[in-house]
Every structure is written in structure tokens, then in C-alpha cells.
Symmetry: C2
Subunit: 413 residues, 2 copies
């Protein structure tokens, strides 16, 4: 295969994570290597993903080539330094103008390499764009680099960004365990964790077991139907032994009839626009416990910090996220296109990974759920197998540079 | 004054903080010194504060004397290692049995030193107990050691535990600032921060200004009446310049008529028991923005992590919290009783403190609010004077020992 010379563009898309900028740093390091080899000349960053690209909002990232210090700060800056978007691309048949415009921009800037860091929707963009470019016979190497705290992408052992979110959840659960144990009175604390369709992040609450031996008493994932009666009787059983009960739930848990718990126990409430009103699964269960058990109860929604708390990032996740970005450039230079990069776990006693890639058409729009062998028989906890899968992903702490008492971040302007 | 020989007891009371165990470590170190001097023999810890003491639930803390390693882990373990209680003591006239029982227990265990680490209610206990012991001519040195994330105790420049909570709030706000800035669309994010009567912790959200220059756009404290119209028009003004608006509010903000914002904008809702139903100020303002401005809006309640996130503890706070516990023992041995220990800021260019004490009867049941010169004229932000007061309290990071990816804690059993 001949060497494809030209410029490259990188974008970030979807919800922020603590590690998406580390992947950006990895792509920058990869582009720097390719520049030395005379393959890639300029690396552009698209502002706000493909939306910004369509408006030619590009910034030159080549400046970063000479500053390993800045790259290290970028690695530990949360959220998407280039900005993000939530654009769901139509197919070329339904929206030919957008695709034609993209090819025009690629020609104008001599762009031959396209790196897109994102989740499921972003992989769909990569899939459509690579097929279209091939059809138009515009030689473009299109690579998706996974990113999501949900860990729900197919083909990869786990997703960059997940380990740091899991570490944040486990640290916070461990601290909450200390907090709720100080009073000698019956109390239930319900912690609502992100995860609409897959319970990976909620399962991570169980990691406290490997550090001090104590874990949340009950863990409910969207993979199992939620039974309110069983939930209440489990709390009663636990309170025969201890006063304080800690419960971890995914935001996306559902009743057996398919309704979200966050819709409430009554009939489905619909707002003026016909949208189902979700008050949050935690709030609904808080109300249930208050009414049925009468003990002190509190619900906590971990909310945005789960995806942006880079001060507790997993060193394993940050290193892998950067590594997979670097590997993406190498894969593109070597001729790959239409693929998503993957992290592959190498079977061995120690935790070892390599970076690979998978055909993107088979990945986009699929959701990887927590397998049933990772969930206990009662559907209210996770198995040791699950904990063993998760544990390596949160290992190691990163060194953060502080400035006036707070973590230093890089802001691209 | 003659040396008072005997045993000592220490307890923790009220809500957990990230630094209350550091103060316990300081008291243990102080007792160790006093033991070497032949003054204090045994240091007991009361389980669940004064409630446990009344049941003679005591543990011998003398074991810690020989383990500086364990003391350092204790310093960075969140919440109250001895357990806590929320007992509000009646006066000796209304409940003579309790006070008689306490003096009996003191005699039985030869307790001559009583250290109580807590907030306002705990200082009230210290005040009543020291007066009663004096009246009964039972020689007892009773010392209160302040602790509260609310920073609302009189006489002390600031309270142990506050600096760590403030650091957690500022770190989290800085990370949320990154997160909400990634999309190029109008959005309002409202962060609800602990503080029923005093806005110190909410004011700390402004500390991000000293680290990167960006701060929440609007900050509302309970010290000023909250005006919903002014709030909405401020958001409109800000959105002329930028799409994403970040708002920090205290949980205890009130309308001009004295009702909590958390009670909602309609009439006062009362539950079956006649309690005012508080749905949370953040949720109420989220609904208001949704209805009146129609843009994307999200509310985040920082909740328990504010008071138990010891992984982000302020090194300044941890050192002072331990130091004031140590100073408490020295003060007691030198003859002080019926006092609360204080942290006094020494006027100078650098940040310097000394530890002092103040007559407890003048402190108990008073609330120190944020002074008006710390709040801007519009009542929607804080002044540089406020930021200068707060900034030293969050400086420095502690070295945390990690175990399987999570911070190591000490659990007393």
C-alpha cells in the first residue's frame, strides 16, 4: 500500500468524560510521529465535532507537537477541550448536501485522515462517512476512537473514560459508606448512578469490597427487572443485622412491565409536550421507602461529576485512553479505515491489554450490556467475576498539577 | 494551679466532615504527650458521642499512642470514626438523671478530661456539662473542639472541616465548568450546595476564579433574599454573551417573605404530618428556568460528598484540624475548661494562624453568617474580599494511601 500523504482532523463528540482529552493527547502524539515520517503535515481540531467542521471551525493543533508539558495537562483536563456536539448524521441519501459539503472541506484543507473520538452516535457518523468517502472515491482514512463512561460499546473489552468514572463512583461510594455508618439509627441511602441501558457504572459501586471489605448492600442494574416488593423486603432483612443500608441503582432501572422506575409508581405522567416525566429513580425509591418503611431515607444523584471528575481519574484509564489515540493514528497511516479502535484484554494472570480495531459497521448502534453471569441470582448485586473484570480498570492514581488549591486545566481558545 | 491527674474521654458529634478524624488524631497525640507527663493515663473514645457514653460504650484509644502510621490514616479517613449522634441535651433542671448518670460514669472511669468535637449542638452540650460539673464540684475539664463544614461557629476565624468541604466544592465546580462548556447551545446548570443558614460553602464556589479565571456566573447565599425575577433576567443578560450559565445556590436560600425557595413557588405544601415539604431549591429553580426561559436546564445537588470527600481534603484544613485537637489537650492540662478551641488568623501578609480558646457560653447556639461586605451589591455573587478570606483555607493537597485503587480508611471496631 502506498503512503497516503495529507492533513488530519480530529474531533470529539457526545458527553464529556475524564479521559477524552487524554485520547486527544494520544492522537496529537501519533500525528507528531506521522509528521516526522512525512505523512501527516497539519493536525486540525474541529470545534464542537462535526458541527464545527461543517462551519470550517478548525484550530491548528500542531502547536502541541512541541509541548509534552501541555499534553500532560491536557490529559488530565476533564470534558472535551475541542468542544462537543450531539449531531446524529442522516444517511447520504437523506441529506446529500451535508456529505458533499464535508468532501469539499476535506479537499480544501487536503484532509486525508479523520479521527472521531466518541460514543455510539459518533461511531455511526464514522461508519456513514467512511462508506460515503469510499463511494465518492475520495481517499480518506476514517477512524473511530471509543469514548464513553457507559462502557456499552461492542467489540472492545472496555471503553476509554469508563475506568475513571468507575473509580470516581467507587471512591465516592466508599466515602458515603463511612458517612452513613456514623449514626446508630435505621436509615436507607440510595445512590443513583448514570447508565440508561447498561449497568456497568453502577456495578462499579461494588469495587469497595476489594478495599476494606465493605460494599453497598444492594445493587440494581437496568439489565434486571426491578421489583419494588423484593427491594423493600431486602431492606427489612438487612436492617435485622445493621441499621444503615446503602443501595446503588442505575438511573435506567425498569419495572417488569418496561416502564422506567424514574416514571414513578403510579400511572405514567406526561407533561404538556407529551414527554414522559422522569423524576429520577432515586427520588421515586426514596418516596417508596419513606411511605412503606418509615425510616430515615435519602437519595443522592451522583450527576455530572461522574463523567468530569478528572481529579480522581484512573491512571490505567488515562494511559490506555492516550495509548488508543496514538494507536489510531498508526492504524490509519498503515491503511486502516472504517474501523473503531479497541482495547483488547490479553488472557493472562496479570492485567495486560493491546490495541486493535474492529469493523465499524458491526459496532455502531449496538449496546453491550452487563452479562447475566455478572449479576447475582437475586438480581440485587454483582458477582465476584464482575468485580474481577472491573477491578484492573480503576487501578493507579494520576499526578495532578494544582494551581491555587485546584487542579490545573487547559482551555483551548 | 495543681496538676489534675486522671483519665480522658473524647467524642464526636453532629454531621461528618472530612477532617473530624484529623481532630481526633490531634487529641490522641495530645493525650500521648500528657501521658508521658504523667497527667492523663487512659484516653477513652465514646461510641456515638454522648449517647454511647451514657451506655458506657467506651473504647480504649491508648493503642494509637504507638502508631503514627495509623494516626495518619485516621487523619484522612472521612466521617466520624467513633460514630456520632445528634442528641440535643436538655438542661440539668429538666433532665437531672442524665447529668447525674454522667457524673457517676466520670467517677467510675476516673475521667477528668472531656473533649467533644462537634458543631453548634455539641458546643451547647459542652456548655451545659461544664457548668453542671462545676456546680457539683466535680473537677472536670470540658473542652469543645469545633467541627462543621458550615463554617458558622462564632469566635473562630473558620472551622475545622470547612476548608476540605470548600476545596471539594471548588474542585467540583471547576470540573463542572469544563463539562457544561463543551456544547454550543443555551443551557443553565444549577448546583445546590449545603448551607441552611450560612452561605460560606456556597461562596467557596467562587474560588475557581483564582485557578483559571472562570467562576460560576451567579452565586446566591441564604444571607440575601432571593428574587426569582432578578434571577431570570440575570440569566438572560449572561446568555447574550455566552450560551452556558453556571449558578451556585445554597440549599437554604429564601424568598423575601422568608419562605425557603425549596418550598416551591406556589403556596406552602404541607405533608400528612404537617411538615413543610422541601423538594430542594435546585429542583424548584430548574422548573422555573424550564417554564420561563425554555432552554436546557439541569440541577445538581452536591449532597453527602461535600462533607465526606476526604480524597480531596485541604492539607491546610487537615493540619489545622489535627493541630487544634492537640492544642485542646494542652489547654485542658493547663487548666482551661468551659471553652471552645478557636483558630485565630494572625494579621500578616502570609496566611498564619494560632490556636486559642473562647468562653463557650458566648458561642453556643449563635450562627456566624457571611458578612454583607463579602456579597456583591446585586446579591448574586461574592466580593474579592470574600475570595481572599476563603482562598488560604483550601491550599495544599494531602497524600492519600490507596488500596486496590481506592483510598485506605481506618474503621474502629
Amino acid at each position: 500500500m502506498s503512503v497516503l500523504k495529507g492533513n488530519a482532523v480530529v474531533g470529539q463528540s457526545g458527553g464529556p468524560t475524564a479521559a477524552i482529552n487524554s485520547t486527544l493527547a494520544g492522537v496529537i502524539r501519533g500525528a507528531k510521529e506521522a509528521e516526522k515520517q512525512g505523512v501527516i503535515k497539519t493536525l486540525y481540531g474541529m470545534r464542537n465535532g462535526i458541527e464545527g467542521l461543517l462551519e470550517e471551525k478548525l484550530i491548528d493543533l500542531t502547536d502541541f507537537f512541541d509541548s509534552e508539558d501541555k499534553l500532560r495537562t491536557l490529559e488530565t483536563t476533564p470534558a472535551a477541550a475541542l468542544g462537543s456536539c450531539r449531531k446524529k448524521m442522516k444517511s447520504p441519501e437523506d441529506d446529500p448536501e451535508t456529505y458533499e459539503r464535508l468532501i469539499d472541506i476535506f479537499r480544501k484543507y487536503d484532509i486525508r485522515y479523520f479521527f472521531y473520538i466518541g460514543g455510539n452516535d459518533s461511531m455511526d457518523t464514522v461508519s456513514k462517512l467512511s462508506a460515503y468517502a469510499a463511494e465518492q472515491e475520495y481517499e480518506l482514512r476514517v477512524i473511530g476512537v471509543p469514548k464513553t463512561i457507559d462502557n456499552d460499546l461492542m467489540a472492545t473489552d472496555h471503553t476509554p473514560g469508563f475506568g475513571s468514572a468507575a473509580k470516581y463512583v467507587a471512591i465516592t461510594m466508599k466515602e458515603i459508606l463511612r458517612d452513613i455508618s456514623v449514626y446508630n439509627m435505621k436509615a436507607v441511602t440510595i445512590v443513583e448512578i448514570m447508565g440508561r441501558d447498561a449497568g456497568w457504572l453502577t456495578a462499579s459501586a461494588a469495587l469497595t469490597k476489594l478495599s476494606g471489605g465493605v460494599a453497598p448492600d444492594l445493587i440494581y442494574l437496568p439489565e434486571c427487572a426491578f421489583d419494588p416488593e423484593a427491594f423493600l423486603s431486602s431492606i427489612n432483612e438487612i436492617q435485622k443485622k445493621q441499621p444503615a443500608v446503602l443501595v446503588a441503582i442505575s438511573e435506567g432501572i425498569k419495572f417488569a412491565d418496561g416502564r422506567y422506575v424514574g416514571e414513578g409508581l403510579g400511572g405514567r405522567k406526561v407533561d404538556a409536550f407529551g414527554h414522559v416525566a422522569l423524576s429520577g429513580a432515586g427520588k421515586v425509591l426514596e418516596q417508596l421507602v419513606k411511605e412503606k418503611l418509615g425510616c430515615k431515607v435519602r437519595s443522592i444523584e451522583l450527576n455530572l461529576p461522574q463523567r468530569c471528575a478528572s481529579h480522581t481519574a484512573s491512571a490505567t484509564d488515562i494511559a490506555e485512553s492516550s495509548g488508543v489515540g496514538f494507536a489510531a493514528v498508526r492504524a490509519a497511516v498503515s491503511g486502516k479505515t472504517g474501523v473503531m479502535m479497541t482495547i483488547d484484554r490479553i488472557p493472562s494472570e496479570d492485567y495486560l491489554v493491546s490495541f486493535g480495531s474492529a469493523n465499524i459497521a458491526e459496532i455502531a448502534n449496538e449496546v453491550k450490556r452487563v452479562p447475566l453471569e455478572y449479576i447475582n441470582a437475586e438480581g440485587n448485586g454483582v458477582t465476584d467475576e464482575c468485580i474481577n473484570y472491573l477491578s484492573p480498570l480503576i487501578q493507579g492514581e494520576i499526578r495532578i498539577e494544582y494551581e491555587n488549591g485546584l487542579p490545573k486545566h487547559i482551555v483551548l481558545s
